[in-house]
Structures are given as C-alpha cells and as structure tokens.
C-alpha cells in the first residue's frame, strides 16, 4: 500500500446535490479499486487560474487515500472517462519525508472536517488571504536587517 492524494475539480454547472453525487462517485471509484480513504477535504467552489473546458470556476475536492500502486492506472482511467470532472491531479507520497507530510495533511483535513462534515470552505479563506500581500513586503525589509547583523 502506498499513500496518494487526489485532487478533483468538479464541473461548476452542477447543483449541490449533483456535486455531492459526483464526489461520492469519485470516492467509490477509489474504494472499489481497493483504496482506503484516510481523509477528504472539500475546498469548495473556487475561481480557476485559467479556464478549463470554458468554465471559469470549479468545485475542488481533495481525497487522501492509500492503495496498491498498480491500482492507480485503473483509477486514473476511470477519472478520465468521468465527464463530471474538469481535472484531476494525483500525487504520490512515497519517501519517508513525504509520508510524514501526508500524515500531517490527513490530520489537518480531519480536523477541518470535524466541526461540520463536508462543508469547511470557511476554514480555508482567512488563512490564505493574508499571506500573498505580506509575502512581498517583508523580503525587502529583511535584507537590511541581515546586513546590520553582519556588520555587528
């Protein structure tokens, strides 16, 4: 068994029930191929960075699971046939470092899912918003600081 992560983008034209059905279908594909789902993370409806199949938005859903490596080809084949999905991204976590990261990601996803199951896009929002703006600014400030330290 190896740890994997699958990100799935569901078509935005669907209603809430249809999205839930599509997500359930995706999870069924994984479990029917011998996968054990560790955690799921519904990131919710987001704007895409570029249009995929003419749609500007998409419903993101992340599934963490472990499965035999040989089953991945079949899972991906089924995803490719599935017309509900705009895009899927499969990530393999094989090295020790990646496996520990996978474990922490699973923990995080579980914690996020715990209060209200399936509906936790609220959790994502505030954390990610602060960072992009602050990212650029401190860099310029840091540089002189380190120079001062060197001078001392």
């Amino acid at each position: 068994m190896r740890n994997y992560e699958n990100l799935v983008i569901v078509k935005p034209t669907f209603t809430a029930e249809e999205i839930a059905a599509a997500v359930k279908n995706v999870e069924e594909i994984i479990t029917s191929n011998g996968g054990e789902i560790a955690a799921t993370d519904a990131m919710g409806m987001r704007k895409l960075a570029y249009p995929i199949e003419k749609s500007e938005r998409g419903y993101y859903h992340v599934i963490y699971y472990s499965v035999e490596p040989s089953a991945i080809a079949e899972i991906e084949r089924r995803f490719r046939i599935n017309e509900d999905l705009l895009r899927f991204v499969t990530i393999k976590y094989s090295t020790n470092r990646e496996v520990t990261a996978w474990n922490s990601l699973v923990e995080k996803a579980k914690k996020a899912a715990a209060p209200v199951k399936e509906e936790t896009p609220v959790e994502e929002a505030p954390k990610t918003e602060e960072a992009p703006k602050t990212e650029e600014a401190p860099k310029t400030e840091e540089a002189p600081k380190t120079e001062e330290a060197a001078a001392e």
Binding site: L7, I9, M43, R46, K47, L48, A49, Y50, I52, G58, V62, R87, V89, I91, R97, E98, T100, A101, L105, E124, A125, T128, E129, E130, A131, P132, E135, E136, K139, T140, A143, T146, E147
Partner: protein
C-alpha cells in the same frame, strides 16, 4: 536594477524556515518564487538553495495542473489578481 538590489543579500528563505515539505495547495506560499507573470523565479534572484528550488519547481508545476496558478499570463488574457480567488 531595483530588482537586482531587492535580491542582493542571498540566502535560502526555505532553509531558514526549515521547510521540509511544500504543499501545492497553499498557493500563498508559492508566491515568493513566482514572478509577476507567474513564471518560476530563477535561483540567482531568489537565493533559494538547489534542494528547495527543486521542491518549489515541482510544487508550482503541480499547482499549475490543478489550476491554482496560471501557466501563462499574456497581455491578451490578463488575470486580475488570480490570488484573490482565495478570498
């Protein structure tokens, strides 16, 4: 010129933060290594070490596939603040 000065003091930001693993899903952390046009910034400008540059480049490529980050930003299809979709 101004950009050169901005990156004068070179050190690996990720080594300092002791980053062991990067997640392609938290886009905010990728912003540092992306240019205005969402190209991957070269190591000579950011000062990243080889190990972290390799990590960030795979992570950015994954994020592009997942439509978190655009592949290209041209004059024709300018993306107005793609990171604000994080809300």
């Amino acid at each position: 010129m101004s950009e050169k000065r901005k990156y004068k003091k070179r050190y690996c930001k990720y080594c300092e933060a002791k980053v062991d693993f990067m997640d392609y899903k938290d886009v905010a952390n990728l912003r540092f290594s992306l240019s205005e046009r969402y190209k991957i910034m070269p190591r000579r400008l950011t000062g990243n070490c080889k190990r972290h540059q390799d990590m960030i480049s795979t992570v950015i490529k994954r994020a592009r596939a997942a439509a978190f980050v655009p592949y290209v930003v041209t004059r024709k299809k300018v993306i107005t603040a793609p990171f604000e979709n994080l809300r």
